[in-house]
Amino acid sequence: MATIDAPLIVSSRAEFADSFTLARYLETGGYVALRKALTMFPEDVAAEVDKASLLGRGGAGFPAGRKWSMLRKSPVSYLVVNGDESEPATFKDHFLVERDPHQLVEGVIIAAYALQVSQAFIYIRGEFALGLERVQQALNDAYETGALGSKIFDSDFSIDIVVHPGAGAYICGEETALIEGLEGKRGFPRIKPPFFPAVTGLYGEPTVVNNVETMSNLPWIINNGGAAFAALGEGRSTGTRLFALAGRVNRPGVYEVEMVKNTFRDLIYDPHFGGGVVDDKKIKAIIPGGVSAPWFGPELLDLPLGQDEVGEKGSMLGSGSVVVLDETTCVVRATWRITKFFSRESCGQCTPCREGSGWLERVLYRLEHGGGRTEDLDLLLDLCDNIAPGLSWPPQQTTICVLGSSIPSSIHSAIKMFRDDFLEHVNHGGCPYD
């Protein structure tokens, strides 16, 4: 049975058709947290977030408080909010920017105050035309109402926020590539070290990059206290989290779920959430955490939705996406399409990723379309091993960023779990599911 008694932290306004308007936002407690934060010392605001143990909601799951505290010693110049959500089957930030842009804006102002930055930027995926318009409108309204700009709510704190449209590049979700995009360049991830934009970020200055959902949690945390947030969930996975459920389920959608208290099975089958698999088919596999994550078989459906719980089983919660593959799904086709995605989106800087992704895609294509050979399975794994040596989890890197090392996840999973499916493609001379 799913646990659904936790408060809705970031999706509380979803029931209202006008959830994105200033009027609705103010009516439902909007900008109260900002007023409260401005009466606190900035370091106390940051301490509250630290107390919440809020794990970053972008994909890496790095504790937001710790990210901030890395900057305590020297002043931070910029806050950059990552709304370039492009991980396949992830659509929670799309929901947040369209449905509750003021919550995001309030969170960004609170973070800007805690970090004492000089300017904040919200980078939003270019394909979110409506989301871009809603966030711009929210910023306009916030300026108008005195929540943004010079001397916010008559305090001694002034800040500007600029919304920055992306232009179609998955790689710009990688924080250093996103900064390049914000500097008006190609979205090439930067060579590490320095590992964090906290050291060298936008214009070479200390910069914090946080995800949209991470920011959207801040108003609630300030209103209710970090301890109340940390009381939800279990262990390192505190609070609630948005899960984007997609694939072969009856009710795909974005669901706010208390961390750890619910399992993959709850999310997929509970009538409050996914409502079961289409046509009551059996689950073949699930992809937790976006297509960069290794797959799980149905035997792991009772695993709790927690960062460490999923990590210990060799995958990740990642971007908060869960894709259900059922018994009618051809895993070779699924793997080919995912690999084609990486091939299209590789920025091209590093050879293993640029060449490897295309090669893998072509081998998978021929398997799916009737030109496959038995030895292709070993070839696929060998190529994967060249991109992420050892095929371990978390993966080893041979590339500047983790896009490269994400490519083998689905291929390795699919061959490990469904080797017979691949061989059937070879023997059948094409896809037996067609």
Binding site: A89, E127, S158, E183, K185, G247
Partner: protein, 206 residues
């Protein structure tokens, strides 16, 4: 003589002023050049270069990296159909094929009447309405070929100009104000806050 219309050029100048460095306005400016011409023309690129203190080659090199920028003319309506994992499981490939047949254009091509350009998209983050279809990056949520065909008829008649503005127009909500927190004010505020914090820390240490 400016290639960009006076109003668009003014919006570009206002955008540049929002960033600490002019080059940062590159992507938003390219969107505006595309809004005027429907694609990135040589003249548009040259003017973005001038506005961002870069060169046309540099602007072209940057623009070509990003999927949403078109260096060749495209239709008034760019139809993007996702075939990535969630949409694949919901018939995205079939949808792409059917829409191509219906519009009479191949993937990447433009229909004979010049109205529609068809693209195979990567995940558009609307997986609860799979297969996902965008027209000019507006979610139209036509998950069947029948509903898409009905939409295409309306688009041809110009009945949806408000919901789906012509290709290139991305953000219709203009920023109402420029930067409002004057640089000097921010610098002084942050210095005072830092000093106050240091004083608090010193006091605590005692």
């Amino acid at each position: 003589m400016s290639h960009l219309r006076a109003d668009i050029r003014q919006r570009c100048v206002d955008l540049v002023a929002l960033y600490p460095q002019a080059r940062s306005a590159m992507l938003p400016l390219l969107h505006l050049a595309q809004e005027q011409d429907g694609y990135l023309s040589d003249e548009g690129i040259a003017e973005v270069a001038e506005l961002t203190n870069t060169t046309p080659a540099d602007v072209r090199g940057t623009a070509s990296f990003y999927e949403m920028f078109h260096l060749e003319p495209v239709g008034k309506y760019v139809v993007s159909i996702c075939t990535n994992i969630a949409c694949l499981l919901a018939g995205g490939e079939e949808m792409l094929e059917q829409v191509g047949a219906s519009l009479g254009c191949a993937v990447g091509g433009t229909s004979d009447d010049g109205l529609f350009t068809l693209e195979e998209a990567e995940c558009l983050a609307d997986c609860n309405f799979a297969p996902c279809v965008q027209v000019n990056h507006r979610y139209v949520r036509t998950t069947t070929i029948e509903s898409f065909d009905a939409l295409a008829i309306q688009l041809r008649k110009g009945q949806l100009d408000h919901d789906v503005p012509a290709h290139g127009t991305l953000v219709r909500v203009r920023r109402s104000v420029g930067l409002r927190a004057p640089r000097q004010e921010v610098v002084e505020q942050r210095a005072l806050a830092r000093a106050a914090r240091a004083a608090r820390a010193a006091k605590e240490e005692k």
